[in-house]
């Protein structure tokens, strides 16, 4: 009976380890084939979260001892805490230094919102000179319409 349980757990562990390795391979292939920074970041998250959790699960099923389980949980927890930070920083730096290829994006809400905010600031500045204001708001609205049209 005990032997059967051992075999079952070993098989489960092997499946988990294989899954984690396959996700890592997917990340490697995606890193080579995908065309721009954001797509590569997308593929890089696969082994960082799901792949790592599968690996830890496989290791826990194979080791089958109490205290180590908590340490493996800690590994997954730390990785899930830190990898979003790194991804956020990289994506922000990529956007600011123009590494994002706009023509590949389906939705680009950040650029649209930034343009709207700039238009609002310009409008608030123009409010001090009422003669200017009309022309400026009209122009901004036109600009905003055009932007929205090109984004959608």
């Amino acid at each position: 009976m005990n032997g059967t349980l051992d075999v079952v757990l070993d098989v489960l562990a092997a499946v988990c380890l294989l899954g984690g390795s396959l996700l890592t391979l997917a990340a490697g292939v995606g890193l080579i084939r995908f065309p721009d920074l954001l797509a590569r970041m997308h593929t890089a998250t696969k082994p960082q979260v799901l792949g790592l959790i599968l690996m830890m699960l496989g290791l826990a099923l194979r080791l089958r001892s109490g205290p180590v389980l908590w340490m493996l949980l800690l590994v997954a927890l730390f990785q899930m805490l830190t990898s979003p930070v790194a991804a956020h920083m990289v994506a922000r730096a990529g956007y600011r230094t123009g590494k994002v290829r706009k023509e590949l994006l389906v939705v680009d809400e950040l650029t649209r919102d930034l343009e709207l905010a700039h238009a609002e600031v310009a409008q608030a500045e123009g409010a001090s000179t009422p003669e200017d204001e009309k022309g400026r708001t009209a122009r901004d609205e036109n600009g905003g319409e055009e932007e929205r049209g090109s984004v959608s």
Partner: protein
């Protein structure tokens, strides 16, 4: 078990190799950062695989440490990433390095030839003179 371990090891090795190819090619610094992140997670996977194979638990703290500090590199690089000039991200060819080196040497020789008095024994700037 040994078959599974060998298959997993091959997959992880291929993945790390592809990530290294991207780190070498990568048009920008940030692409290289992401590729090195993948290498880090491959290393974590490899250590876990080895621990699962030999049922040892003494390498598990390494996993904790790598998971904890693995993000420092990419955060640092992303924090100081700036707009690179076009073509800055690639590796220079031999001829370009030679050209840049001769240019640098010429600039150095001209700088040596036109030495100014201030840096070569001229009067001190803040000295009080009677």
């Amino acid at each position: 078990m040994i078959v599974v371990v060998i298959i997993c090891a091959v997959l992880l090795t291929i993945s790390a190799g592809l990530a290294l190819v991207r780190a070498e090619k990568g048009p920008s610094m940030l692409d290289r950062t992401i590729a090195l992140d993948i290498v880090t997670s491959t290393i974590v996977g490899a250590i876990a695989l080895e621990a699962a194979w030999s049922r040892r638990i003494d390498t598990v703290p390494i996993l904790v440490a790598v998971a904890l500090v693995g993000f420092v590199g990419s955060v640092t690089i992303a924090r100081f990433a700036s707009v690179e000039p076009e073509g800055e991200g690639r590796i220079l060819t031999r001829e370009e390095i030679a050209a840049a080196e001769t240019e640098r040497l010429e600039a150095e020789t001209t700088a040596l030839g036109s030495s100014d008095a201030e840096h070569h024994g001229g009067p001190a700037q803040g000295e009080v003179r009677e």
